[in-house]
């Protein structure tokens, strides 16, 4: 049996601390570096979504955090316990303190729902285990919490995909882990079940004060994150860089593959944005109307309509200032300074340029406070 971690329960620092972690696969000439100096710390109760293209090292980082493999270089600590070069026994001990949710549910089809959850429960040390009736009550409680109170004795193959993933979540949560790791938990689910599962994970994390690290490609559930950690080629990359890069890549793709369509889309979006944002705001009702009108009046596909809307809303949002938070004083000053620098680049700063800058400052709401 694995040694127990005396410090785990009382540890109140960051649940997961990664410092300059690097990782390689293979040996000798085939040795390939997967992670480069990755650093992050995850606080109790924080929901972090790990994004990035395939092969970026997301899953490697997650398996390191899950003590599924021993660290190689840099430091990786769970509940303060260093995992670099850790023994198998230490890794096993850490795993028992972590709730792991996989891409596919990986439930044992030979067992029923209750028994699958029981498999996790019985990993607790004997001294911490309760009586049979009490344990059953606890299992039923967790299953009720994930909305499966009526399915306790069902076989796994009698459940839908979403229900199975819920059982897997119940299994990951039964021991009240302080860290929950999820690898593409919604990948095999339809849109609605995926949404439910994501919301459930977020809710449970809040209730239990557990840290969540969630790897996903599913942009629909990014909103549950407190923080998004973007990996690319084994390095942490700023999210804005990544999104901007991705957006311009995609627009470039449309431009080269379908120039006519691109012109139509960009013209429409600019025109719509001007019309809709004439009153300097664009609300849900307007978006709905536009979607409706576009659907009826044009032969655009649904995805194309969404793209037009996205571009229109984005350019309107820029005029309104950023949607969630307005810019800080420092950023405002930087933007204004940049505008001036551009205007002065030709060595001539005329009144028309000054008027245009003032109009922009007014329009974007970026007037520095002390002006």
């Amino acid at each position: 049996m694995a040694p127990e971690l005396a410090s785990a329960a009382s540890w109140d620092g960051p649940t997961v601390q990664v410092e300059k972690a690097s990782h390689w696969y293979g040996k000798g000439a085939l040795r390939k570096q997967i992670l480069f100096d990755v650093s992050t710390a995850i606080e109790p109760g924080e929901v972090v979504i790990l994004t990035g293209p395939s092969g970026s090292g997301k899953t490697t980082l997650l398996t390191l955090m899950g003590a599924l493999r021993a660290g190689q270089e840099g430091s990786l600590r769970i509940f303060g316990q260093e995992l670099r070069g850790a023994s198998e026994a230490t890794l096993v001990g850490i795993r028992r303190r972590i709730g792991y949710i996989f891409q596919s549910h990986n439930l044992l089809p030979a067992l029923d729902v209750e028994q699958n959850v029981q498999m996790a429960l019985q990993l607790q040390p004997r001294s911490e285990r309760a009586g049979r009736a009490e344990e059953r009550e606890r299992i039923v409680g967790v299953l009720e919490r994930v909305g499966l109170g009526d399915h306790v004795t069902k076989r796994i193959d009698q459940l839908s995909g979403g229900q199975r993933q819920r059982v897997a979540i119940a299994r990951a949560l039964i021991n009240k882990p302080r860290v929950i790791l999820a690898d593409e938990p919604t990948a095999s689910l339809d849109k609605e079940s995926g949404r439910d599962v994501a919301d459930l994970i977020q809710e449970l994390a809040r209730e239990e004060g557990a840290s969540v690290v969630l790897v996903t490609h599913d942009n629909r559930i990014l909103d549950i994150a407190d923080r998004i950690l973007h990996l690319e080629d084994g390095r942490v990359r700023a999210l804005t860089d990544a999104v901007a890069q991705e957006a311009s890549d995609r627009l470039e793709l449309i431009r080269t593959r379908d120039p006519g369509g691109f012109r139509m889309l960009s013209t429409l979006s600019r025109a719509l944005a001007r019309v809709a944002a004439a009153d300097r705001s664009i609300d849900e009702a307007e978006i709905e109307t536009i979607r409706d009108v576009l659907g009826r009046m044009t032969d655009l596909a649904e995805g194309e309509i969404e793209l037009v809307l996205g571009l229109a809303v984005d350019s309107t949002a820029a005029k309104q200032g950023l949607p969630r938070e307005r810019l800080g004083e420092r950023e405002k000053a930087q933007v204004v300074a940049a505008l001036h620098a551009v205007a002065e680049a030709d060595g001539d700063f005329c009144d028309r340029e000054r008027a245009e800058i003032d109009a922009l400052i007014e329009e974007l709401g970026i007037a520095p406070a002390a002006r």
């Binding site: 694995a2 899950g66 044992l108 067992l111 996790a120």
Partner: protein
């Protein structure tokens, strides 16, 4: 009460058809082992029926005699010499030979039959039914027939009962079957006749009274067979072999076990049964581990140790061993009955054999499990996810 999910059992029972195949496979292997062991034991047991059914303590043989069936002659005088040794109460010379028997129901049908010849006035065999029928054997050309002989000798018992008397030819000599006794067949003896020493020499004219095949020595009550045997051996020259009853039995078994391929053949059969069961159980366990790799890797990711998974596979193997063994024992018992009735061999299920086969079955399943467990190495969560 803290309970654990009996994962091994649930894993086994998940694929009903596979479980059934596994049980059938184990049972088949185990039945094979039972049959081989049964026949081997029956061979040995029947080969020594003569050795064990009589009341003697020490036996004299020719040194060239490996087995009763092929007993060589030695001088009858050695037997009389042995009677003079301290502790010897009586001796009985026994003549043996193989004769040609004509099936009384079909006189063209001949087969070889084993013949015992003993002086009826000597202290004779204690086989049931012989002592009471010694008198008729004083009459020339009369024999007793072993009613447990194989059927190719003809329906002797039935004919005797329906006709009251029965005549046939042995070694081309007309003889009368005066009665029946019970001896039984062995791998070397398909059937036997019992008659007087005089009648024996009538059947085998080239045999002289002074050369016998076996000398039975009876001791005074309370004498140690080992001591008297040593005394006889010391008193007699090397042209005769002196054995206790146990040594005689051991020599006979040793002959069948090693000097003939029969012992090897049955040993080989046991190995075959073992291997068949082993391969089937291995296939089943391997397939189960293979199908469950992702789930097992998940269990490891949750904090289960490799040892736990090894335990699951081992328990699966033990369950298969048990599930396979029970019906196999039942089938083997039935087969013993059938084969015993058909061959007149002493085939029966004994607790000792059942216990050793159970041990063999568990060993078989454990070896399969250890082979299948190697596959568990691929259930590494870091590699699978």
């Amino acid at each position: 009460m803290i309970r654990r999910v009996p994962l091994a059992w649930h894993q086994l029972r998940r694929e009903k058809l596979r479980l059934l195949a596994a049980i059938a496979g184990v049972s088949f292997g185990v039945v094979l082992i039972f049959v081989q062991l049964g026949f081997r034991a029956a061979l040995f047991e029947s080969a020594v029926t003569f050795h064990t059914s009589l009341g003697y303590e020490v036996v004299l043989l020719s040194p060239k005699t490996d087995t009763l069936v092929g007993a060589k002659h030695f001088a009858r005088s050695r037997i009389f010499q042995a009677r003079g040794i301290d502790g010897v109460e009586a001796v009985t010379p026994v003549y043996t030979g193989t004769a040609t028997w004509r099936n009384p129901a079909d006189l063209a049908d001949t087969s070889n039959i084993f013949v015992f010849g003993v002086d009826p006035s000597d202290r004779v065999f204690e086989w049931p039914g012989i002592a009471e029928q010694l008198d008729p054997l004083e009459v020339p050309d009369r024999v007793l027939f072993d009613e447990r002989s194989r059927p190719e000798f003809g329906p002797v018992a039935a004919l005797l009962e329906s006709q009251g008397s029965l005549f046939t030819e042995v070694n081309d000599r007309r003889i009368e079957v005066a009665g029946l006794y019970r001896f039984g067949t062995s791998f070397g003896i398909d059937g036997s006749l019992f008659t007087s020493d005089l009648n024996f020499r009538r059947l085998f004219p080239d045999r002289s009274a002074s050369h016998v095949d076996v000398g039975l020595v009876y001791l005074e009550p309370g004498r140690s067979p080992d001591g008297v045997r040593a005394a006889i051996a010391a008193a007699l020259p090397d042209d005769v072999l002196v054995l206790t009853r146990d040594q005689f039995v051991a020599r006979e078994i040793d002959y069948w076990n090693s000097a003939t391929p029969i012992g090897f053949v049955f040993g080989f059969g046991v190995v075959m049964g073992f291997v068949v069961g082993l391969i089937i159980v291995y296939q089943i366990l391997f397939a189960d581990v293979q199908d469950s790799l992702k789930e097992y890797a998940t269990l490891k990711a949750m904090g289960y140790t490799h040892r736990y998974l090894v335990g699951v596979v081992m328990r699966q193997a033990s369950l298969l061993a048990l599930f396979g063994f029970l019906p196999a024992t039942l089938i083997a018992t039935l087969l013993y009955g059938q084969a015993g009735a058909a061959t007149n061999l002493p085939l029966a299920m004994t607790p000792e054999r059942a216990a050793s086969v159970l041990a063999l079955t568990v060993a078989m399943c454990c070896v399969s499990a250890m082979l299948a467990i190697r596959k568990l190495g691929s259930a590494e969560p870091a590699e699978i996810f």
